[in-house]
Amino acid sequence: MLREAVRDITTSFGPDYFREKARKGEKTNELWNALASQGYLGVNLPAAYGGGGCGIGELAIVCEELGAQGCPLLLLIVSPAICGTILARFGTDEQQEKWLPRLASGEDRMAFAITEPDAGSNSHHISTTATRDGDIYRLNGQKYYISGVDEAEAILVVARTGVDEKTGQGRLSLFVVDKETAGLTFELIPVEITAPEKQFTLFFDNAEVPADHLIGTEGDGLRQVFHGLNPERITGAALANGLGIYALEKGAQYAKERQVWGTPIGTHQGVAHPLAEAKIEIELARLMTQKAAWLYDNDQDAGEAANMAKYAAAEAGLKALNQAIQVHGGNGMASEYNLAHLWGMTRLLRIAPVSREMILNFVSRHSLDLPRSY
């Protein structure tokens, strides 16, 4: 019923709305607010703070259904999935009281910043530092490809607060940094993705962050961040699955109707089989996504399943969209058929939140126990 409710609300906006808003560089706040007002954006957050009291499994359903209606909302992966999860688990009472109700109701959004120009896939290597100075931390460094900074109230920033003497790796800590913090500036990165969310580079120049904005214990950031990254991967997978479902539905519909040799093009196996293959792969990816969500929500190790789900979903979603465009022939490129503009978003999900190569590294190393390459 969750799925149906999200579908009903989302279809009252629809893919034309999403594309037109995104094209004009506008936000899809009407859709966001309609979902928020009925409690669908905070389904995974604790009920005591106004959330739905459920898990990532439910949030994944919301993400998938938004994708399946051609209205993918990227910030769900960031604000409730990563930031909400981390705050609910590690935040101080004050931080939880301040942020969780606002994230759960969708009235505020929080961005998440880990990626750096010189430390992309390698998060151990991040060089943004936070140095304690009395009641504050001073942040210095740079982050890039940070989604939704313009519409967020605050940013959850991963910074280095020291070095582990044994391993030489950075000791990480997490901070909730208000967007208005002095010493923090941000700059738009133009990207070829038709989406209401925009991407930014962040510059920290002695940005002063109150010490009580530190999440949990100093130096514990890596462990904390991993708690947020599995939900990120699972909801990212769900979004890709949803986009695949959307594309397949449109592709199959068109293949049933379009005739150029007197029969629907769907009768040609050259058209039908790639759609069937994509369908199988989407369903497999959904199953793995559900498994990962179940493991996560039942406090079991979800790392492998979440990575595999993200990999499979991104590949399957892309394949489905690709084939749906192909089935449409020239119309596949037409705006009114509402497919090609989703290419950027779907393609992105192979790169972010974690690239397919890094997942293959993870599976080689952890699932197959192969020697590490880096």
């Binding site: 409710a5 409690g39 669908y40």
Partner: protein
């Protein structure tokens, strides 16, 4: 104020549908809340909210203990439900349905108002609400588009071709509401979660003290496809074609 709302659960009108051998609709599939009934649910919830208390009870008759549509209405905010489910009712006609629903309504406890839709989306018979009113001895107000509760009575705007009649009736009463007169709310996530725990009393015909073994007085002898829609008239726009539209609408008495 306590309100009973009749909710029919029907095969998804967007999906394919099959007929049984006796030409009644095959209902052995997933059923959903009939959209026609969502308006009644919304009106009931609004009336309960303005009255400041009471309960909205859903009454439904459906095969296979189907509760999907009931859960939707519970998620919108109704308090509880009674479902009559019985193989003996398969293919029941409108009068039998009304008898069953009337008995089920009596089990709902004290009520001030019974609300139904003007007609269901899968059957379009449109006699059930009036039949129930007769069986329960209630005043029957049909085609309601707006309902206001005053001391011991209701004031209803009853839709007509020309506009609406204003009708007063003492409570309790049976009202059928026209589709589209309110905007049914979307269930909230909390509503969905709460709906799982709300009581739904599932009963059979014998629990109602009814005996339907003699069947009913209706038999469907044949079924035909609805006539295909005639092709529309195409008008080239010569700058004056709006006059043709106006004329068309006037002929249909729409304007």
């Amino acid at each position: 104020m306590n309100i009973v709302v009749l909710v029919k659960q029907i095969p998804d009108p967007a999906g394919p549908s099959e007929l049984e051998d006796d030409y009644t609709l095959d209902r052995n599939c997933k059923l959903i809340l009939d959209e026609s009934d969502s308006y009644g649910v919304e009106i009931a919830l609004q009336l309960r909210e303005t009255s400041g208390g009471g309960e909205v009870t859903l009454v439904s008759m459906a095969p296979n203990k189907e509760v999907s549509g009931i859960r939707t209405a519970l998620a919108m905010g109704a308090e509880k439900a009674i479902l009559v489910t019985d193989d003996a009712l398969s293919g029941a006609d409108a009068l039998t349905t009304a008898k069953v629903l009337a008995k089920a309504i009596e089990r709902a406890g004290d009520y001030d108002l019974v609300i139904g839709a003007t007609e269901s989306t899968d059957g379009y018979v449109g006699t059930v609400p009036a039949a129930i009113a007769e069986l329960l001895g209630l005043p029957s107000v049909t085609f309601a588009k707006k309902i206001e509760v005053q001391e011991g009575k209701i004031v209803v705007q009853r839709q007509t071709e020309a506009g609406y009649d204003l009708i007063e009736a003492p409570l309790p009463a049976m009202i059928s509401v026209t589709a589209g007169v309110v905007e049914p709310r979307y269930p909230s996530f909390k509503g969905i979660m709460a709906a799982k725990k709300k009581p739904c009393d599932i009963i059979g015909v014998s629990d109602l003290g009814l005996d339907v073994s003699a069947g009913w007085g209706q038999e469907i002898l044949s079924v035909e496809d609805a006539p295909a829609r005639a092709a529309g008239e195409k008008i080239e726009d010569d700058g004056e074609s709006y006059l043709k539209i106006v004329e068309f609408l006037e002929n249909k008495k729409i304007i």
